[in-house]
């Protein structure tokens, strides 16, 4: 691995617990609260936050998974990764406060797509956003309510989140975008 | 006339002269258009000359071509057809009468001859008359007048003479002039709507099957009629054109063995292409056979290189499985087939750039015929001498003395010959073809056998560069 490690497994664990506290505090409890992870790494993160809430509050918060593939605004992403991973929301969204969970907040386009997708399933009371890493460079007027770590980056860099459940290891690293130095002007 | 266009040349190469029954290294000297000297070389003088290099052949004869004039000059004219023929190495062509109007009357023949004369081409133009008036299959054409005017035979090509009674009368009537009936064997009741040879490939592609029996049945019928007719009219002659199936060839082989005056030809496409080309394969017919002589499976082989349903492959009779193509080549070798004829059938894009089942039948083939045959020769499928005979003395014999064709490298006569580099390939493209018909599946492909010089009647018909 060539990247620079900016969060260790322990950092991730602590950030997850802190976010779980913030969510409950902001919502003033757990009634009507639900978490929805964005496929793929948002899904295990949402499960971890829910587990932390259970440990702290003794309350089970419903957790769902959201696939936003059909909501992207760039079909070339379909070609790179046509596999749809599936949406699984086994509870009624109507009237609930939904916390969307994702690993990295960057341009904001994924979150825009996620909100469109979510609204097709029902009408939540409110939608909030929790992310492990906010790396800046927003292209849409979107901000996170709960952030594990703010990381200043350049557009030539890639923030790579790995999680035990998906990748076998918990870590956040920054890498240089492949080919960024060759081309010079990566848009 | 020949004095003006007289050509001078000294050519060294590998001569193949079926008329003399001889092939070998030669130095040929043409002076004033006359083949003045032919020196057979041996020893070191023959170094570098061989049957895979520069060939010197008698001018080729195509006994089956469509030049579309009069009536369909958008597809081909006598002028463009003759340019294409010369480029393909042909110094004599016999034109089919399915023009609009049909050549069923001497006036149409006169018109074709006038067009040919106007081109100034030295390539000889012969013509068939229609068997039936307007090619309608109802009554006989003006056969006697046509014979007097100089047709070399009669044909309703494009369709068979469907009525057995008419076929009988035509054979008998034309037999009195010693002219052949050139029949396109097809039982139309079996081929209505047919698109591809019935069998594996057609079934997979969902194309309406064109049964072998439609051709073989028609061949058997016509041979049976001929057997009856010759008892009364010894001059009756039947020529079956563009045979494509093992079954038809077997009928002809048996009829010849029985001494009947029947002859037949095979086209370059039926000996070298197969029905799997319609599915997208482009391997030669001899490459599509397995060790037991059965057609290989292009789907299992991963041999499908081009998109399927290419309408340049829609032809009548249809391209057949590799076993039938092999039977065609066997017929060429053993003498069952008397000639290779191109069935040059140019079409416009309007008639070809349409749905497969609605596309006009035919392949524009007069410019690629020699190349296709040389590919078969190179593969060891037909001996070179035999292949040249099938393109020269073979068709000349079928057409008979009235046609006046004497292909051969004859000293002291106006030179009528083709110089072709057998080992040089050329790229078949819409731009490189002289014919207006670009409807060939060889477009985009490099084929062996580049024609360098064609002399017809002592004059230059085609010269490269």
């Amino acid at each position: 691995m060539t990247g620079r490690r900016i969060m260790t497994a322990e950092d991730i664990r602590r950030a997850t617990i802190r976010i779980s506290h913030e969510i409950v505090e902001k919502h003033a409890g757990t009634d009507g609260l639900a978490l929805v992870g964005i496929q793929r790494r948002g899904v295990p993160l949402a499960a971890r936050i829910a587990a932390a809430i259970r440990d702290n509050e003794g309350a089970d918060v419903p957790v769902g998974a959201l696939d936003i593939t059909f909501y992207r605004d760039d079909l070339s992403l379909v070609a790179q990764q046509p596999i749809v991973k599936g949406t699984d929301i086994a509870f009624d969204l109507n009237g609930r406060t939904i916390v969307l969970v994702d690993d990295v907040l960057y341009t904001g386009r994924t979150i825009r797509a996620a909100m469109d997708a979510l609204i097709d399933y029902g009408r939540p009371q409110a939608i909030r956003l929790a992310v492990l890493v906010d790396r800046g460079h927003r292209e849409l007027p979107i901000r996170a309510d709960h952030v594990g770590k703010n990381v200043p980056t350049s557009r030539e860099e890639v923030v790579k989140v790995t999680l035990e459940e998906v990748d076998g290891e918990d870590a956040v690293e920054i890498e240089r975008r492949p080919g960024a130095d060759a081309g010079g002007s990566a848009a | 006339m020949s004095a003006n266009g007289g050509h001078d040349a000294t050519i060294c190469g590998w001569a193949v002269d079926p008329a003399a029954g001889r092939e070998g290294a030669v130095e040929a000297v043409v002076r004033g258009g006359v083949l003045e000297r032919l020196t057979w070389l041996s020893g070191s003088a023959a170094d570098g000359l061989g049957p895979t290099g520069r060939l010197i052949l008698p001018g080729l004869v195509d006994m089956h071509a469509h030049f579309r004039e009069p009536g369909n000059e958008d597809a081909e004219t006598v002028a463009t057809g003759l340019a294409a023929a010369a480029r393909g190495g042909f110094t004599a062509v016999a034109l089919m009468p399915n023009t609009t109007p049909a050549l069923d009357d001497p006036s149409v023949l006169a018109r074709v001859r006038a067009s040919a004369a106007a081109t100034g081409s030295p390539v000889r133009v012969l013509a068939y008359g229609a068997v039936t008036a307007g090619r309608k299959g109802e009554t006989l054409s003006a056969m006697g007048e046509l014979a007097d005017a100089g047709v070399v035979g009669f044909s309703d090509d494009g369709a068979s003479v469907g009525s057995a009674t008419l076929m009988r009368n035509a054979l008998a009537y034309a037999g009195a002039f010693g002219l052949p009936i050139v029949d396109h064997p097809e039982d139309a009741t079996q081929t209505a709507g047919a698109e591809a040879s019935e069998g594996y490939v057609a079934t997979v592609l969902g194309l309406r099957g064109w049964p072998v029996a439609a051709e073989a049945g028609s061949v058997a019928r016509s041979i049976a009629i001929l057997a009856d007719v010759v008892r009364d009219v010894p001059g009756a002659r039947l020529h079956l054109t563009h045979l494509s199936t093992a079954a038809s060839i077997a009928h002809v082989r048996a009829a010849k063995a029985a001494g009947l005056p029947v002859t037949c030809d095979v086209t370059p496409h039926h000996l070298a292409f197969t029905d799997e080309w319609v599915a997208g394969s482009r391997r030669w017919a001899w490459e599509a056979l397995d060790a037991e002589g059965r057609a290989r499976d292009p789907w299992a082989d991963g041999a499908l290189a081009a998109p399927p349903f290419d309408t340049s492959l829609r032809v009548n009779p249809p391209l057949r499985p590799a076993e039938d193509a092999a039977a065609c080549r066997a017929a060429l070798r053993d003498g069952t087939a008397d000639a290779i004829a191109t069935d040059h059938a140019p079409h416009t894009a309007v008639d070809k750039h349409v749905e497969f089942g609605w596309a006009a039948n035919g392949i524009s083939g007069i410019e690629t015929a020699l190349s296709t045959v040389l590919a078969a020769v190179a593969a060891g499928e037909v001996p070179l001498m035999r292949a040249v005979a099938l393109l020269t003395s073979g068709p000349a014999a079928v057409l008979g003395p009235r046609a006046g064709l004497r292909p051969g490298l004859r000293l002291g006569e106006p030179a009528d010959l083709v110089v072709v580099d057998a080992d040089a390939s050329w790229a078949v493209s819409a731009a490189s073809l002289r014919s207006k018909g670009k409807n060939t599946p060889l477009l985009g492909r490099a084929v062996p056998g580049a024609v360098r010089l064609v002399l017809a009647g002592g004059r230059v018909a085609h010269a490269e560069g």
């Binding site: 059909f70 046509p82 076998g168 | 698109e195 997979v204 499976d297 750039h353």
Partner: protein, 337 residues
Amino acid sequence: MSAGDRPEGAIPTPAPVRWPHRHLLDVDALTRPEIDLVMRTADEMHDVLARPIPKVPALRGLGVTILFYEASTRTRVSFEVAAKNLSADVVNIAAASSSVSKGESLVDTVRTVEALGADMIVMRHGVSGAPYLAAEVFGGSVLNGGDGWHAHPSQALLDLYTMRSRLPGGSLEGRKVVILGDVLHSRVARSNVWTLTAMGADLWLCGPTTLLRGFDAWAARGAAGRRFTVTSDVGAALRDADVVMALRIQKERMASGLLPSLREYAARYGLTSERLRAARPGALVMHPGPLNEGVEIAADVAVDPRSVITDQVANGVAVRMALLYLMAGARRTEAGA
């Protein structure tokens, strides 16, 4: 990356398969992983269809022209609903066609449709191979909605999807599938030969010998070497079958001398509950429609609990959504490359 490369405890994911086909003109070249990808994507589309608002913006801004040269309600509407569910802009053209009416040529029509902004064409045509001509001149993607006797890719894939969703275990491997009826004229049968053998089914084609013409020659080779069986013995075909698909018999077949009468066909080859007893209990009954009840299929069999004919219609939309979606992605890749 294969599943084996992943550390223990990782979430297993399907091997990443790209969809490389800009056009879908036939199913002969589809690989098993590609077919699996269509099936998985159709599963997701099936979920979309179950939502209160069964519509996603995946193909927003994309023009889909449905160009049908043959009358068809079922397939045309199915494609139209599928494209609209993906938020595509849909244009419907019912084109008249014949070889003799020297009207607008197919090539002309396709060029016009392209100039009017179509990104994809779904085409139905009575002549085998016609969509290949469209694909030759069209700058976008062509999806074959059925051509002549040749192919009907979306129907074969929805048939497969229906079988997988209804068969215990969800696999076709070793399952005996019988296609019964007018095989000769059937593009559905031809496409099913490719997809079902690719998925490992034990495929049987059955009908009167006149309606199987040419298929013995195909069966002798197999579908790219994959075996299937052709028989006119309906008893042997139906014995222990897991799936029986009846094909429509058209009245024109009598006029062309292929069959003595519909009555005789029904008596000898009609799918009746009596005949179906030879199949496995719970065998699926299918039909690509439209049905001639009492001819190729008995009325009681068509509405039997084992009949999944209405599933086929519903699944058609999900599978066609999946195909449009995957092809739209392939189209963009090719344009970008």
